[in-house]
């Protein structure tokens, strides 16, 4: 089966420290004022003292049906064979259609290059056998990445074992970040 790269994010293991955001900036030279990934908070919900707060990391969902690719007039936005959605800079004319089209707000116009910019799933690190920078640094092992089509991968094992949800399912983009909210006592072995 074809490779289908994506993320599993375990929200119960996220403490909102934002190490993933700084590691991504460092690895990918994201310009100040913009970020390729994020940690969002539910805000403190409920009434004192019965309150809760949940943190939800995210980035490009590397969708099955990426609207950013569909709207791109030049073919710069594209989905690779392994499922990673990228921008080929030499073809990008900076029209920003893709930025508007993304329902997850995962793209920005890079003021230094004039091109659309986004998470690349750190494919340059994957090639060297390394995890994406955000996954590598995550203190809580909340962020996991891998091949969703390989049953032996960490992400597949997690999806098989725990209930998952995706964001904006009704939009039909087929996002490849699967969220697990319940406690995950142990991260399975795998790649």
């Amino acid at each position: 089966m074809a490779v289908r790269m994506g993320f599993v994010i375990i929200t119960s293991r996220c403490i909102d420290c934002d190490a993933c955001m700084v590691a991504c900036r460092s690895e990918n030279d994201a310009p100040i004022g913009h970020t390729r990934n994020w940690v969002k908070s539910s805000g403190v919900q409920g009434q004192f003292p019965k309150v809760r707060e949940v943190f939800q990391p995210g980035n490009c969902m590397h969708c099955e049906n990426p609207p950013c690719v569909a709207v791109c007039p030049t073919g710069a936005s594209q989905k690779r064979e392994d499922g990673i959605v990228i921008v080929e800079n030499s073809k990008c004319i900076g029209c920003k259609y893709c930025i508007v089209a993304c329902p997850y707000d995962a793209r920005f116009a890079n003021p230094e290059t004039g091109k659309a910019d986004k998470c690349t799933l750190c494919w340059h690190r994957l090639e060297q056998g390394l995890e994406p920078a955000c996954v590598q640094t995550c203190l809580g092992k909340s962020r996991q990445a891998g091949d969703m089509n390989d049953p032996a991968s960490i992400v597949s094992q997690l999806i098989a074992k725990y209930p998952t949800r995706v964001l904006l399912k009704h939009v039909g983009t087929g996002p490849n970040i699967y969220y697990i909210d319940e406690a995950v006592p142990e991260i399975p072995k795998g790649k």
């Binding site: 119960s12 403490i15 420290c17 934002d18 590691a23 900036r25 004192f48 707060e53 800079n89 406690a183």
Partner: protein, 734 residues
Amino acid sequence: MSKVYTWDQLFSRRKFIKGAVATAALGATGVGALAPKSTLGLDSSAQTTGQDTKYVTTICEQCVWRCGVIAKVKNGVIKTLEGNPNHPNNLGKLCPRGNAGVEAMYSPDRIKFPLIRAGARGSGLWRKASWDEALSYTADQMKKIKDKYGAKAMMLNSTDNLSQPFFESLLKAYGTPNYGTQRSLCFNSMTTGFLYTYGNPQPGTDYSRCKYMIFTGRNLAEGISNNETQELIEMVAKGVKVVVLDPRFSKTASKATEWLPVRPGTDSAFFLAMIHVILAEKLYDEAFVNKYTQGFEELVTEVQEYTPEWAEKKCEIAASTIQRIAREFAAAAPAVIAHPNWRTSNFVNSFQTERSIAVLNALMGNWAQPGGLIPDQEMNTAKLGVLSHPPFPAAQGIRLDGVPWKYPLVPLAYGVIQTMRDNILSGKPYQAKGWLISRQNPVLSIPERQKTINALMKLDFVAVIDIQASDTAYYADVILPESYYLERYDGLVTIKNKIFIRQPVIEPLYDTKSSLMIYKELAEKLGLGEFLPYKDEVDLLTQQLKPFPVKLEDLKRDGHYEVENFKEDHSRDFEFQTSSGKVEISSSIMAQMGKKAVPTWDEPPRPEEGHYYLLTGKTAQHTQMFTQNNRWLLEVFPVNHAWLHTSIAQKIGVKSEDDVVIESDVGKVIIKAYVTEGIRPDCIFMVGGFGHVSKGLKSAYGRGASDSALHKTVTDPISGGSALSETFVTVRKA
């Protein structure tokens, strides 16, 4: 005289970019290289691992936890930092601050050469100096002060830096008793509380096997201590019971099984009542108590009146909850920990709080048990080679910080820095004249910022060693620029059987030196060179490595060395270094002082109508007052806010992001509000470390507000701890 510069002229961004090729290169790589799969690798400049890329293993210094780091260097530029999987302090992970180390390295606000003040103190006018001039000037001033007023008129301050032992050598060789660490602003109550109970100021905690944890001032999700934070997350994931006492809904509280919004200053009521239940229902470890403790009977008498119902009135946690937690906790013993914490609630009664926590642990018999408290690891740590030097002269005179003449129970190594500051101003018991400060920032750390600035203005001489123009450096006469941690060596670090090295990843970008060499060369200029007997850093590290069959080059290559056949010795785990040799439920030393010897209730003050407790704490994205100038960290935490409960916000008519005025007896700040249900209505919280006054920190200057402008100076007479939360404030719409 040479030309006079302001900060802007010295370090303008334009000038910097022109002058520093390294940073230009840093900005140019990366995003331009994305190509489709067919051409992968062909034009990806940032990602090739050719011969121009190297990896260097070293130790982080974005806080004091000392995590292992592997730096990736390409064409002489540090590209990224990643956690060293072989380092026990972080197990391959880096927190946001650790990841952001590269930004500060290439910051235009680095101090690039020695500076000597060229206008009034604090005017921000400087002139460039050579190292020889700056060190000679510093040494001359220190000599003058010593000749005229005695060595005691000079204060030397530094906290927890890796080269601290050599700073202490300089201090002792010079002969002053005035050593300022900043520990009294942090966890004096914990260290003294445990010291006078177990003879051990800071026992470890076996998180991985613990079944029930109570935190009362250890906010691991926001005060990140990397491996311990990871342990917290694993505990929560495994379903271990984690109870958090905190007036504020911290991120640790959000992960915990139970959040108890305790009234500030009353944690000890909660613990005394837990002890009451445990004694009344005989839930304690009788064998441990009989064999290893003293004072049990006294405790029984003392806690008789501390019923859960009594405690509920004090701490505002339901009696039934206290009773339930006491029973659950005891049922899970000995794999339980009432965490020693760092700070508790910062009241003058915090020593009693820590004592009651220490005693609660003893009743559980969790000492040296799986999932409990871990005895001192010092004796199970490899011993580095020591440098031989002549005996130090005896320090002349009593200390300015009141240790031990005013604070007899505070260990000399901790001190009481806020009293040191106060006595610069009072001139009692004698007048301080000079201050050498290595990498501390008392202007922002000690309560009552204005007093600290006044103290600096009163001195004859102030020298600061730092990498950046901290608020304190701003008021100095001379700034000796330290190399960044990625450019320098420090003394070696041992953790159990492993030895770790901080080493230069690249050569210093500017005319800076390691603190090892600054201390050494300053000692030489003072005629005290023999007390720091090393030629250079490599010579020093080689001497430290002498007991081990390993070469420095090997250590540098591997980043660590594992001592072979190292055996942990647990034969003395139950030898308690207290006066009685036992775990002192009843403290011999407190009894000698004529004070109540068992943990006791000490009623804390509470704010009057219309006033609020001011709470302060950490965020995961910054380290105290050290990282607010780091632009990568400002991206994830740009400014501090005042947390207000919704009901208070409604009362004064503000919503989140509105400016509010917060005023205490000693100061007033304007800060943006964060309106939330996650705080007690009688409290206002702000993250510390913002509100910088140094114009040399261009990104941090003027951002947010400093808690040091509001905090009153209140000191726990037993532990010397600064009772930060005894500051009460008013709040109104700006």
